[in-house]
């Protein structure tokens, strides 16, 4: 059975003139590559981008340590409950960084980056902060993408009054300076109870960031969907009777998804930086350690010459932003050929 279909397929192909160029049998011809394969090939060729990938994977691994709970789990020693590593006082406050444990002399990561004003390990707080930063950036991106893509696609696809309304909405949101809008959202969402669930720290800043950053993506997707709406493949999909939802999400989405990915990669660093601003304003994460909180705490510590928590958190953010931005640039060049060659 399988051999007959194979033969049928063979017989359907037009006869090939001997010596004529046939893409399927040509010597050295590679199979057709998808956009994503092609992009991955380009990224792999760039040593800079691959280095960024490795750095980002390291961040994810460090972030995962925070997710396992070993840092925040309370332990019971001799009947007394001891807070997790991130909240435990393990020495004098403001102890400078050292490779070894100050008492027994063994190598101990807890002291590598010194202790903060409450004698807590800066190292473990930094590790936990990675979890918070990645969670915030990732969840905020998801909200941004869902809102931005849906509104943009609906607007571009349907046009008319829907388009006018959505265009009005994003023009309006874009008119409020972003930093004020984000701060305002964080301000009004802080400690607000939604469906019986009190928004604290991470959820409220995720919402504040996600709900205020979708405008750029929405505008981009709207323009792109507008172009795709009248293309042949969409007409064909409509002709065979597919619904609007299926056309948008199954047929148009894959053709504009690279823009979503570029937007996602280039937006990650902005979320991490925004978290620092919110922490400084007292609108950020309060119950767990975060990079922003560590920098915020440093404003008093620095006066006493305690520089290690500030430096540690700053370097973490700096390296993350650098890796994300450089990788995002390569990704953009690889995925969107129109933008290629400008750098």
């Amino acid at each position: 059975m399988t051999s007959t279909t194979h033969d049928d397929a063979q017989s359907l192909r037009p006869p090939v003139q001997p010596g004529a160029y046939d893409p399927a049998t040509a010597v050295g011809a590679s199979p057709p590559r998808s956009l994503w394969r092609d992009a991955w090939g380009r990224i792999r060729q760039s040593r800079r981008a691959m280095f960024c990938v490795v750095v980002l994977l390291a961040y994810v691994l460090v972030g995962l340590i925070g997710f396992t709970g070993v840092l925040s789990n309370e332990t019971v020693v001799d009947g007394a409950t001891i807070p997790g590593l991130i909240d435990r006082t393990i020495g004098k406050s403001h102890q400078p960084p050292s490779w070894t444990h100050p008492e027994d002399g063994g190598i101990s990561p807890s002291y590598w980056l010194g202790l903060d004003f409450m004698g807590r390990s800066v190292f473990w707080r930094l590790v936990y902060g990675t979890r918070v930063a990645l969670t915030v950036a990732l969840l905020a991106s998801i909200i941004e993408i869902v809102i931005g893509f849906t509104l943009g696609a609906v607007s571009g696809y349907f046009g008319g009054i829907v388009d006018a309304l959505i265009t009005w909405l994003f023009s309006t949101v874009a008119s409020v300076p972003w930093i004020l809008l984000m701060i305002s959202f964080a301000y009004v969402l802080k400690n607000k109870t939604v469906w019986g669930y009190e928004l604290t720290g991470v959820p409220s800043i995720v919402l504040a960031l996600g709900l205020t950053t979708w405008v750029g993506l929405c505008r981009l997707i709207r323009g792109e969907v507008l172009k795709h709406r009248d293309r042949d493949y969409v007409l064909a999909a409509r002709a065979i009777g597919l619904g609007h939802g299926r056309i948008v999400f199954r047929h148009i989405l894959p053709n504009v998804f690279h823009l979503v990915i570029i937007n996602f990669a280039l937006g990650l660093a902005a979320f991490v930086h925004a978290e620092v601003i919110l922490s400084f304003l007292g609108l950020g994460v309060t119950e767990v350690p975060s990079w922003g909180r560590m920098i915020d705490d440093a404003k008093l510590e620095l006066l006493k010459g305690v520089w290690w928590p500030l430096l540690a958190a700053t370097v973490m953010i700096f390296v993350f932003s650098l890796a994300v931005n450089l990788f995002g640039d390569t990704l953009r060049d690889a995925l969107d050929p129109r933008l290629r060659g400008t750098d």
Partner: protein, 405 residues
């Protein structure tokens, strides 16, 4: 082109209204009990009620029509009209009031009023909260058994909308300082401007020259260094730089005052120097990349080749041709960056204790001074809308192709 400009101006109106809506909704209805946030945890219920009345939170939220009065407490008094513009009434017209009743939130105004002009006036006679102690003139006989409010009640939304469209928002008082926002802005703006304007101009000049330089040396080491510089600057958290600079240059080296401000004479320059320097340093990152791309596009276009073929030297080509043509995106980008100048850098002003608008806004956030945060958001958004409008119109004047769209 005029048609385009007029249409563009008309398009701004719904956007301004949208901003009004966002501001009101965000601060009145999304915020978790603003009165409690302002008063703190120890405030009594009575205090909270007073604050709610001050914030206008005691009124119906959106719209409320025809609220039936549940109880009639008093009858037979006259009401002096104090809102002459309503229903063709004149000031001084006296009406017999048929009842004072309880509305859905407390005792308020009027039921059915029979007046000398022979018509029945069903209304709250204005704002339910404000007219609580209603001016009742004398006891006169009147009897009415049924009372119903058929006018739309004034709501919190109304009063805020009215505040905004009549520009009374500038007169709204800061809850903390009990001073109109407008007055505070006037007082605080100079310090912000003293930092922002020089920083902005220096940064713009640096961005353009570095971008032009990098574009000219495209692909060489100089280009790489400039590009790398901008990427590195973009990756540093601004707050860390502020803290570090204050500590290093202010405290350790003592080159600049650590923080503070003096507005007399030229004293401010002493305090402004370091913040301006940091602003410039942090501000050039994004611009360099953008302008470099713009300049490269221009350098590789046909007219530049023609200019070179004509025998112009590199400097003439760069400064009279490339820079001039590349300025359009620069102007657009610059205009849209202007509102942030008004606000000033929030964190920068806070850290260096500069008594500017940014610092003031942060303080308002810390104090839950809702009117200020709301007012600043709104005012800046409107300024932004207007600037975008201006930049779009300028753009059509520079580039006539736009008006064809």
């Amino acid at each position: 082109m005029w048609a385009y400009i007029v249409r563009r101006i008309l398009l701004t109106i719904p956007i301004v209204l949208g901003v009004v809506l966002i501001t009101i909704v965000l601060f009145s209805y999304v915020a978790a009990d603003p009165a409690r946030a302002w008063a703190g945890r120890i405030a009594s219920e009575a205090q909270l009620d007073a604050i709610r009345a001050q914030m206008g939170l005691d009124k119906p939220r959106w719209f409320k029509w025809s609220v039936p009065i549940r109880e009639i407490e008093a009858t037979g008094r006259t009401l002096a009209v104090s809102t002459p513009w309503a229903h063709g009434l004149e000031e001084g017209d006296r009406f017999v009031i048929s009842g004072v009743g309880n509305g859905h939130d407390g005792t308020f105004a009027v039921a059915e009023v029979k007046g000398p002009k022979g018509f029945t006036y069903r209304s709250t006679a204005g704002d339910p909260a404000a007219t609580q102690p209603i001016a009742l003139a004398s006891d006169e006989d009147a009897s009415l058994h049924h009372a119903e409010l058929t006018q739309r009640l004034a709501s919190g939304f109304d009063s805020q909308l009215l505040d905004i469209i009549t520009f009374r928002i500038f007169e709204l008082k800061s809850m903390r300082y009990q001073q109109p926002i407008w007055k505070i802005i006037k007082e605080k703006a100079p310090a912000s401007m003293a930092i922002q304007v020089p920083a902005f101009l220096i940064a713009l000049g640096l961005q353009l020259s570095l971008a032009l330089y990098a574009a000219n040396k495209r692909g060489r080491v100089q280009d790489l260094i400039v590009t790398l510089l901008s990427v590195l600057i973009l990756a540093v958290p601004a707050l860390s730089v502020y803290l570090f600079a204050q500590w290093a240059f202010g405290m350790q080296l003592g080159w600049f005052p650590v923080a503070g401000w003096e507005s007399s004479g030229l004293q401010w320059m002493k305090y402004a120097a370091l913040p301006i320097f940091i602003s410039v340093l942090l501000g050039i990152g994004s611009g360099i990349r953008l302008y470099r791309t713009v300049m490269i596009d221009e350098i590789y276009s046909d007219y530049v080749r023609t200019a070179r073929a004509k025998g112009l030297n590199n400097r003439q080509v760069l400064f009279t041709h490339v820079l001039k043509n590349g300025l359009i995106p620069v102007i657009t980008n610059t205009v849209t960056a202007l509102p942030s100048l008004i606000l000033g850098a929030l964190l920068l002003e806070r850290i260096f204790q500069i008594p500017g608008l940014g610092n003031f806004t942060v303080e308002a956030l810390n104090n839950y001074d809702r009117t200020v945060v709301m007012g600043m958001t709104f005012i800046l958004s409107i300024v932004y809308c207007l600037l975008i409008l201006v930049s779009d119109i300028l753009y059509t004047l520079v580039n006539p192709q736009v008006s064809l769209k």
